[in-house]
């Protein structure tokens, strides 16, 4: 290149600056500033092209870039390729050949060291698509012997070191624009493939000034950036030669660089990265001794126009690379998709798909052979790669291609009638399949409208965007009949969203292990559709391992990754048949990310459970849940015991009883499980019961009076104390402690008073008759009647600790219904029902059963029904049948039978140490109805007698 290559252009631009500046600003400064910008752009191009190390400027998702890369690589065949990508991602690139693109390179860290606490887990993704220049460079470098690929950008650790406290909006997934009505859920799912990782991409080229972008869009008469880029840069550059490509790209990079807001925090970060990259490249050249003429530096056009002093091999400006933090980074590949890329980088929906379609068309059109990694999935097999032709000789000095590009309107393609016709026919077919009433007439209309729209927008060949608009105009009516609207159908037609897949070989050990262990199911786990797996565990006991694994995955993965349709796993229960909906292919990312946690799913679960119980906020209930999970999924044993011991610790340290109902529920379940399966209770269970007994006894008096502690909590505490009592006493606890605690309790709230009464009655401190009397007293006192429902609520809750009170609660409820005035009763009823449903679901059957026993079952008997508590005369208990007065003569067939065969009774009496002897049997007593019946039909009795005599 001669030094004055761009002089003519520079002069022209300066003239233009002089002409236009006065109209844009009054001061002479404006003219200077404009001149500075315009000539500076040319200077940047000049400088980048003159650099000893060849700089290849790229733009992301640009087929033109990819095409230029293919041609340049074939022509130059560099020995070293420097690529603007985080240097620590290099080992992952070799795994790309095992994947179906697009996939994203991911670096992940949850174990942070050197970052502020609470920012983790950190995750970076760098998506790679096939229609990109960087993939071409990677494929060339990896598959050509003797070529070295060097990643030179800052490490992922630096990405977060340099990130401001709150990550930039653009780096986080941006919400996709507008047209989200039909299939939001599906798209959202596909767009969320990257999770909440920070995205990095090679060749980010977009105006940083919102106003500049708006201006370009407005005057380009296009709607979004991708469309502008396609029309003004992509199309003219697709067929352009290398010099024109390079000059134009650097020019655009320089323009956006110079027209960026100076306060943008990305500016300093970008410059820092440029210093980093140049320093790394100089280091590599010095170390390897490579000839700069054999090297190629692939970077975003934005960085090609860099002004940092470290720019260029000739520069010796020092730059010290800051050390990484101590954070341990894990690396892997995760599946990506076009829509995920669009969502992550705020691109127009469908633009990446359209770029991919444009790329494949351009490749055919220009008969270029793109590079492709050997064994890459998702492509037809090639017989044998032809050897690269020898590199061509260096070209003649570069001429100025910019003047021509800038002064002429973009040379646009002519109308490709066959292509457009194909699109029109296909969109109608697709629309029809999606419920639209589209016909051939619509295809004709879409064709006509596309051409007319393109004409209005100054282009001969309708772009995919024109076609999309035309299809929406002609086919979309007032409602979308199916799941997809016409706009989305167009995207599908023009390439569709492509979802990548990480191949088995590139998966982390955990994921591979999962695939291997689920192989006996015979289900294709790579498919993105939901697969149904049926497991008959009796017929195929070898599937038990799969079932176990599925239950663990169910616990670890997102809700719908694996979903049991039939079968459940609870303590002490195992299904004999299970049926599962598996969407593992769709949740590949989750499994891969699980792989960062551990080597097997069991280990991952173990770690998670451990983290759960050692969390500073963990409670005894959480620990018990962990124990339950450990028993369910990991077989219990030593690990469950360890978690259980932690539960005991947590329980003793707790100062509130908020979790008491949960603790009671879980420990009951665990105790029942251990009693049924183990010969003896594990130690931790015993410790838990004794600790719990002492703990709740201590807290009981406070809980009774504390206003913030609910009735349900106190009831659960009492439930624990009473239901575990026998076990606790057997383990050395003292009942006096509980009695004292109850005596110390002096609640004021009616519900808690009722609870206390119930507790005292359970302890034998309050006889039932007195309890009944107290409640009757409450009902009789008009001043207390309004709060009677509260007492009732307390008694209902008391069923938990004292189930024996059920008849009494039924009696009380009946009395309340009978006697309470409507004004008190009616407002309370809904509350009773909701309380019963929410908090005492398991108590309802007890109540209902009791009520069924008390009340008559048939309507006719209701008329004569007298409730037991009303009809019972004083001392009626004595008259109950079967309770004969002690001391009097006994008689009847039963007594006679026993007297006739005394051996059994004597044996029992001897065993119990009771030596009262036999009473006299009254003869000829009233045989009663039973006696009369036996007298009339003696056969049965005789037969029994014969049998007994024998």
């Amino acid at each position: 290149m001669t030094p004055d290559t761009f002089d003519a252009l520079r002069g022209q631009l300066l003239d233009a600056a002089r002409t236009f500046a006065p109209t844009t600003g009054t001061a002479a400064d404006a003219s200077d500033a404009l001149a500075g910008i315009l000539s500076g752009i040319v200077d940047d191009v000049d400088r980048a092209l003159a650099e000893e190390l060849e700089i290849f400027p790229v733009c992301h998702h640009s087929p033109a870039s990819a095409l230029a890369m293919v041609r340049r690589l074939r022509e130059k065949q560099p020995k070293v390729v420097y690529l603007e990508l985080c240097e620590d991602l290099r080992p992952l690139l070799d795994e790309l050949r095992n994947c179906r693109l697009p996939v994203a390179l991911q670096a992940f860290a949850s174990d942070l060291d050197g970052f502020p606490p609470g920012v983790g887990p950190l995750s970076v993704v760098a998506p790679i698509t096939e229609a990109s220049a960087e993939y071409q460079a990677i494929a060339y470098a990896l598959d050509t012997p003797g070529v070295e690929l060097v990643l030179v950008d800052r490490s992922t650790d630096h990405v977060f070191q340099w990130l401001p406290a709150e990550p930039a909006e653009s780096a986080r997934p941006a919400p996709s624009d507008g047209d989200a009505d039909a299939d939001v859920a599906e798209r959202a799912e596909e767009a969320a493939l990257h999770g909440d990782a920070v995205g990095i991409e090679i060749g980010d080229l977009r105006p940083r000034f919102a106003e500049l972008e708006a201006h370009l869009l407005h005057h380009g008469k296009v709607r979004h950036w991708s469309e502008w880029w396609d029309q003004y840069v992509e199309q003219p550059l697709t067929g352009a030669d290398y010099d024109a490509y390079r000059q134009v790209m650097v020019l655009i990079g320089s323009l956006f660089r110079r027209l960026r807001p100076s306060e943008d925090e990305r500016v300093s970060r970008d410059e820092e990265r440029e210093r980093y990259m140049w320093t790394r490249m100089r280091e590599h050249l010095a170390a390897s001794g490579a000839d700069p003429a054999d090297c190629l530096y692939v970077c975003g056009a934005y960085h090609a126009a860099s002004r940092v002093e470290q720019f260029g091999l000739a520069s010796d400006a020092p730059y010290e690379i800051s050390p990484r933090t101590g954070t341990r980074w894990l690396y892997g590949l995760i599946p990506s998709s076009h829509s995920a890329i669009e969502a992550q980088f705020g691109l127009a929906s469908g633009s990446v798909s359209i770029a991919a379609a444009t790329w494949s068309k351009a490749v055919t059109r220009f008969r270029d052979t793109p590079f492709r990694l050997d064994g890459q999935k998702g492509a037809a097999k090639r017989a044998k790669r032809p050897a690269l032709p020898p590199p061509s000789t260096p070209a003649a000095p570069v001429a100025d291609r910019l003047s021509g590009f800038l002064s002429s309107p973009p040379a646009l393609d002519g109308l490709d009638e066959a292509e457009l016709l194909g699109w029109c026919v296909d969109i109608v077919r697709l629309a029809r399949r999606n419920g639209y009433l589209a016909s051939t007439a619509d295809a004709i209309a879409v064709f006509e409208t596309s051409v007319l729209l393109a004409g209005m927008r100054n282009r001969a060949r309708p772009t995919p965007y024109d076609f999309q608009d035309a299809a929406v105009t002609c086919i979309e009516k007032d409602v979308v009949p199916g799941r997809r609207d016409v706009r989305h159908l167009c995207e599908i037609l023009l390439g569709g969203d492509r979802i990548g897949q990480v191949g088995y070989e590139a998966l982390p050990p955990l994921a591979r292990d999962v695939y291997d262990r689920l192989a006996p199911l015979g289900v294709d786990l790579e498919k993105r559709t939901i697969q149904r797996a049926l497991l008959d565990l009796t017929a195929n006991p070898e599937l038990t391992g799969c079932s176990d694994l599925l239950w663990i995955l169910r616990r670890l993965l997102p809700e719908d990754a694996v979903r049991p349709i039939m079968g459940e796993r609870r303590l002490g229960e195992r299904s004999i048949q299970e049926s599962w909906d598996l969407a593992i292919g769709r949740h590949q990312r989750s499994i891969i990310e699980l792989g960062y946690e551990a080597i097997t799913v069991e280990q991952a679960l173990e770690q998670r459970l451990r983290r759960m119980v050692w969390d500073p906020k963990a409670t005894a209930a959480v620990a018990l849940e962990a124990v339950e999970d450990a028993v369910l999924y990991l077989g219990g044993g030593r690990f469950a015991a360890e978690l259980g011991a932690r539960a005991v610790e947590l329980l003793s340290a707790e100062r509130t009883v908020d979790d008491a109902p949960e603790v009671l529920r879980r420990i009951r379940r665990l105790l029942a499980y251990y009693r049924a399966t183990e010969p003896a209770l594990p130690e931790w269970c015993e410790a838990f019961v004794t600790a719990g007994y002492a703990h709740y006894c201590t807290l009981l008096p406070t809980a009774f009076v504390d206003e913030e502690t609910g009735v349900r909590q106190v009831a659960a505490m009492l439930g624990f104390l009473f239901s575990m009592e026998s076990l606790a006493l057997a383990l050395g606890c003292d009942r006096a402690q509980l009695e004292l605690a109850v005596l110390q309790s002096h609640p004021e709230a009616p519900a808690k008073v009722a609870l206390l009464w119930a507790a005292r009655s359970q302890l034998g401190l309050l006889p039932m008759a007195e309890l009944r009397e107290r409640c009757d007293g409450l009902l009789a006192n008009p001043l207390v009647v309004p709060s009677f429902p509260m007492y009732l609520s307390g008694f209902v809750q008391a069923l938990e600790p004292a189930p024996a009170l059920a008849p009494f609660v039924v009696e009380l409820l009946s009395k309340a219904f009978a006697r309470l005035p409507d004004a008190v009763l009616l407002p309370w009823l809904p509350k009773l029902i909701t309380t019963l449903r929410d908090q005492a679901g398991e108590l309802v059957p007890v109540l209902v059963r009791e009520a069924g026993r008390t009340f008559p079952a048939a309507l006719p008997s209701l008329d004569t029904f007298v409730p037991p508590w009303l009809g019972r005369p004083s001392g009626a208990a004595k008259a109950r049948p079967g309770t004969a007065p002690v001391g009097g003569p006994v008689g009847g067939p039963a007594a006679e039978l026993l007297a006739g065969h005394r051996a059994a009774c004597d044996a029992v009496a001897a065993l119990l140490g009771c030596d009262g002897g036999w009473q006299e049997i009254a003869d000829g007593g009233d045989p009663g109805e039973a006696g009369a019946l036996l007298a009339r039909h003696p056969e049965t009795a005789t037969a029994v007698a014969v049998l007994l005599d024998r």
Binding site: E448, T449, G455, M456, R457, V472, T473, E476
Partner: protein
Amino acid sequence: MTDDMLRAPAEVKYAEELDWLESIDDGPKPFSWRLSPRMVRLFVLGSERSDGLDREISQKWFGDRSFVERSIVTLASDRGLLLIGDPGTGKSWLAELLSAAICRNSTLVVQGTAGTTEDHIKYSWNVSMVIAKGQSRESMIPSPIMTAMEQGVVGRFEELTRSTSDVQDALISILSEKYVSIPELDDDNIVFAKPGFSIIATANSRDRGVNDLSSALKRRFNFVRIPVVTSRRSEAEIVRFRTTELLRRHHIDLDLPPTLLDILLQSFADLRAAAASATSDDERLESALSTAEQIGVLEDAILHSHFFGDRTLRAQTLAGSLVGSLARRNPEDLAILNKYWHGVVEPRGKQDGGEWQEFLEGGREAIATLS
């Protein structure tokens, strides 16, 4: 000429602009169009410096460029254009502008109502003339649509979905065969549409389900959905544009302070947000809170201050007319406005003071009067 009319149609109002555009237009024109599609777009959306015109063309319709392009292209094709959207989104205004630009006649309008009959779409008879001279082309009264067919211009059908299905279906043959036959006559009994004939219909999306279009008719229309303007900037421009026009029409010389415009836009934005988050119709204002409604509020306030005030638009007056226009149901709407006034305007008045404070007081007074 425009002085004699309360509201001149677009082709009269912008006659001079249209003449000028026609004189410089060298682009290809479909059928008998007076302007090429690009010039039509320019007329509707206004010119920019980059268009390189000698004079400035003002923007008349505010909205996405692609809606206008799609509408123009539809009119150049074989199908009718159906503009569909919420009330107050500028559908009819766009229809008027398009027909004015394309054929200089935007007055061939059929208004769809529950009482619209097929006669309104095709033709009817002058009864006394039929009695005197019998049925002939002379005694026939063509509908606006038939007139549009005869002249090869654009006919308009407002609120298409308000008319009943059988009436709507009369359009099917007009749109596909492009002629209307008159069986009552023995000869000269077919009216053929001349090239350039097309139909722009508008439909209110809130009326959906009242009289649904048949699939046959849907097929013959291209639907262009006009969304509610949500961009604050374009909304401000629309309100300013329409209000200036109104002031000119009433010969009122009154300044529209930008702060008051801001207050108006902000309160509408707040009320829209509130309506969006409401769970039942009772918690939602009955008004659609469209841009047209804002213009109505502003118009009311301007007229009020011009005739009854001190000829300066004040925040108090604006608040009064806002409450007056939006409170349609008592007590539901008033309760919502009361809540808005005390929950949102009051803190803002205290914080920002100035005009918001006045706005607060004006609104309070108005609510008190209406309650």
